[in-house]
């Protein structure tokens, strides 16, 4: 609990209703999209960069940790306040400040919901591609802080590829504005890139300047069914190796499909081992159709059982709804799930999938496998019950082996969720000692008092 004086100072910054500290308020800001929990000492809901700056100044003076957060959908426990402090919630900073059609740039506050931004730019004939499955319940600030990805990142790149500039409040309360509307801007160090993916440890991102592109006019979306995981994996690699760049190439295994079907009743196939969701897009209808045909041809050659191209927008939307629902739908199977996002180079996709399967067989706990197979970003999800300490121990071992497998295959721990608290222990293994040390020094230089999201990314 923060002292009354500090609470009232905070409230003098935010105005009435901007500071909450009842036990009920503290509980609901203690979690994110994982099973981890902490308890903040206060919840603060600022309305402007100026508010954030004054809050951080006060926090620095009083040595209070500040844990920034959007809608709390993160999957690495990055916004869980393990050491108490202020849960700095940016959801009320949700204005779209500018959509600059001429320069194809949007300037938004951190609390804007990603799907709301996408809808707004679409009205202006533009497109913001990064599409984490949480796009309706996550914010731009959180997306940038975790450098979020999504299904369409195979062709279009991740959030960071669209960040042209950022406004961030530093650990001493100063406001950093970096980047510009220019596509090319190489003056000095690329600080916007440094803050992208920094998970709130270097500064509080309050505004972003985002690059937009022309809306692809045509889409072709196909659901391809396989009777073996291996066949699906080979098809993924073969499609990419043939030079086709689908907008997305998504994989779902049989359990993933079954969980979604149970909840949504979309008529998904229940008798197959794996499905691929392939989408091509672009401005030339014939080219888009040709690409999906080529991909289909390759899938058939690799042993696809059935293949169906969505006949209209409603069918396409249903396929995407299914894909986006996989992660939450797994909750039907067990009280807890641990979803990782290991990533490997595309050539290693079949091998990575075989390794995950081997881990599942070795330990016996179910692992559901799905993900953005096309960019090598896989989501093995372990299903378990955290109340059983034996199961939890097994889960920890399984996760360690998943990470090892990814690193052995020249891959990485995280393609889009970030490190947060869950992957800290493996950081040095992934980065090596030199990179780890440099990163720690950057953190020390920017946040000498260690008040910004302390304990995240780096092992204790």
């Amino acid at each position: 609990m923060l002292d009354k004086k500090i609470l009232s100072q905070l409230e003098s910054i935010t105005g009435r209703g901007g500071v909450c500290s009842s036990p009920e308020d503290l509980v609901v800001y203690g979690y994110d999209g994982t099973f981890e929990e902490g308890t903040p000492d206060a919840v603060v809901l600022p309305r402007s960069t100026e508010d954030v700056s004054r809050i951080v100044k006060l926090a620095a003076a009083e040595r209070i940790p500040v844990v920034p957060r959007g809608m709390g959908s993160g999957l690495a426990a990055g916004s869980v306040p393990f050491r108490g402090g202020i849960a700095l919630t940016l959801t009320r900073m949700n204005r779209i400040l500018e959509i600059d059609q001429a320069n194809a740039v949007a300037r938004v506050e951190a609390g804007v919901v990603t799907a709301d931004l996408q809808a707004a730019v679409e009205k202006a004939g533009l497109y913001y591609p990064p599409d984490p499955s949480s796009q309706r319940h996550s914010t731009i600030g959180g997306n940038v802080a975790c450098n979020a990805g999504g299904p369409h990142c195979l062709k279009y790149g991740v959030t960071g590829d669209y960040v042209l500039g950022l406004t961030a409040v530093l650990a001493d309360g100063r406001v950093l504005r970096t980047g510009s509307k220019c596509i090319k801007d190489v003056v000095g160090y690329d600080l916007k890139a440094l803050f992208t993916g920094s998970e709130g440890t270097l500064g509080i991102i309050t505004e972003a300047l985002l690059r937009l592109i022309a809306t692809p006019k045509f889409f072709r979306t196909a659901l391809v069914e396989f009777d073996s995981m291996d066949g699906a994996a080979r098809a993924v690699y073969a499609v990419l190796a043939a030079g086709v760049v689908p907008a997305s190439l998504e994989l779902m295994d049989e359990t993933a499909i079954a969980c979604v079907e149970e909840g949504l009743h979309l008529g998904l196939p229940l008798d197959v081992a794996a499905t691929l969701l392939i989408e091509t897009d672009g401005g030339d209808e014939a080219a888009v159709a040709r690409e999906i045909e080529t991909a289909a041809e390759i899938c058939r050659r690799e042993g696809a059982l059935r293949l169906k191209v969505a006949a209209n927008e409603a069918e396409r939307a249903a396929l995407w709804k299914a894909r986006r629902s996989v992660s939450p739908a797994l909750g039907r199977k067990a009280p807890n799930k641990l979803g990782e996002d290991i990533t490997v180079p595309r050539e290693k996709i079949p091998e990575a999938m075989r390794r995950v399967k081997a881990i599942r067989e070795k330990y016996g706990l179910p692992i559901v496998l799905y993900g953005h197979a096309g960019d090598g970003n896989l989501h093995p999800n372990i299903l378990f019950d955290k109340r059983d300490p034996e199961q939890w121990k097994t889960v920890e071992k399984m996760v360690a082996e998943e990470f090892e497998a990814a690193l052995e295959l020249e891959g990485t721990l995280s393609g889009e969720h970030g490190v947060g608290a869950l992957k800290r222990a493996y950081l040095e293994k992934a980065l090596g000692p030199v990179s780890t040390e440099i990163q720690k020094r950057i953190k020390q230089a920017l946040d000498p008092l260690n008040i910004l999201n302390p304990g995240k990314i780096f092992p204790e």
């Binding site: 009842s22 009920e24 609901v28 979690y31 999209g33 709390g72 919630t89 319940h137 909750g331 039907r332």
Partner: protein, 425 residues
């Protein structure tokens, strides 16, 4: 923390598998307006969970968060895990009420709502206000303007109350116009009977015109939704038993209602009494007979209305009709049957209007915020008329439209249909 003498608690299955994904935040009207996790389904579920597991005191501020839920069911529908956060919020109100019953709730739900005569007497002042011309006088003198905003909104919300409740006018049995092809029961909802008698009279006329002999038991009691919403589940169950008994003697295959909330509740009697060995089967059989008036009409051969109504009409989905009963196509179909009607879809038609039973009184500010969003969407349609199959939605929309200075008629879809049947009107 030990929990002394608590009533049966919601089971772990109702919350354990919440994986906190946050999908429900995107669809929750109270979250969207507050952008504050405590007003979200996930937040409420976590509070209930911590309270039930003894990690948080079950105290009034925790229960207050459960009362802040509008019970619009959007979270129930979106949850990929199959958890029903809105139901859990209502369950928690029951826990509170059973652990420490509140006197006023007992009076309202155990006395007035279980006795149609008392309820009629209690609402007499509202009818007198209209009937004696006091309302006209108040408005002529502009007296309502001196009321505080909140009271002024509530005054505006009162429909043109009928001179007499429908119950006093309608015969027990209304004969079918022409050959009677079936016998249907008609459930007189409290709000319809007392406030919107003309609309329910129209519903009965439309049923009769389409070959139905309509039986309207006069002694029905409140469906039970208000009692359930205020945690008085035992009262709701008592009301269910009373209504089931009445319709068992009416000898009808179907029971029709023109109130979204009554319909959703009557359809739940099977669940209300599922663990009651004496009543479970009777309740399930009763619930299986319930049809919303639009749902029923679309299931029988209907006469095409002759009169044209030249109007641009839109439709607002009551939560308890669309999500509570899965009925949303039928009312639109009814409106489109009428010649001259230009039907225009309302953006976000299925989002709560903010009335949510009594939220306009208990959570005024939030209710108005949710309403404002609805009004923006209504304004976009450019409609002359908005139809909706729920009396409380209509009260809320009426207030809001008056407040926003929009002239748009608010009515039940079946009323327009009735008008289109009567070329002399």
């Amino acid at each position: 923390m030990p929990i002394p003498d608590l009533p049966p608690l919601p089971s772990e299955a109702e919350y354990l598998n919440c994986i906190r994904c946050g999908l429900c935040l995107a669809v929750c009207p109270t979250y969207r307006e507050s952008l504050h996790e405590i007003a979200s389904p996930r937040g409420r579920l976590m509070l209930a969970r911590k309270g039930l597991q003894g990690e948080l005191d079950l105290r009034s501020n925790l229960y207050e968060q459960m009362y802040a839920c509008f019970d619009c069911l959007a979270c129930n529908e979106v949850c990929p895990v199959g958890i029903r956060p809105a139901d859990l919020a209502v369950e928690m109100r029951r826990v509170q009420e059973q652990a420490g019953p509140q006197f006023w709730k007992k009076v309202v739900f155990n006395r007035f709502l279980q006795n149609p005569d008392w309820l009629e007497a209690a609402t007499l002042p509202v009818r007198l206000y209209e009937r004696l011309g006091i309302r006209g006088l108040v408005h002529a003198l502009g007296l309502q303007k001196i009321l505080p905003r909140r009271l002024r909104d509530m005054e505006a919300m009162l429909p043109r109350a009928p001179r007499r409740p429908l119950r006093q006018i309608l015969p027990e049995v209304t004969s079918a116009g022409g050959e009677s092809k079936r016998r249907v029961g008609f459930f007189l909802g409290c709000a319809q009977n007392l406030m919107y008698a003309d609309e329910s009279a129209a519903a009965v006329r439309v049923l009769a015109r389409n070959g139905s002999t309509v039986v309207t038991p006069k002694d029905v009691v409140c469906c039970g939704m208000p009692a359930r919403s205020y945690g008085r589940m035992e009262d709701a169950r008592a009301q269910a038993r009373r209504n089931i008994e009445l319709f068992e003697t009416a000898d009808v295959e179907t029971v029709v209602t023109d109130c979204a909330t009554c319909g959703a509740t009557l359809k739940s009697y099977g669940a209300f009494l599922g663990d009651d060995p004496v009543w479970a089967e009777r309740a399930a059989a009763f619930s299986a007979k319930i049809r919303d008036v639009s749902e029923f009409l679309l299931s029988i051969p209907m006469e095409n209305p002759a009169k044209r109504i030249a109007a641009r009409v839109t439709y607002h989905d009551p939560c308890h009709l669309r999500r509570g009963q899965g009925v949303w196509k039928q009312p639109r179909e009814l409106l489109k049957m009428i010649g001259g009607v230009e039907f225009v879809e309302l953006p976000e038609a299925d989002v709560c209007c903010g009335m949510a039973g009594t939220q306009i009184i208990t959570h005024y500010e939030m209710s108005i915020k949710v309403l404002m969003r609805k009004l923006d969407n209504l304004a976009k349609t450019g409609a002359d008329c908005v139809a909706s199959g729920c009396p409380v939605c209509r009260m809320q929309l009426t207030t809001g439209l008056a407040r926003a200075g929009l002239s748009m008629r608010v009515t039940h879809p079946v009323v327009l249909l009735d008008e289109a049947y009567h070329s002399d009107l």
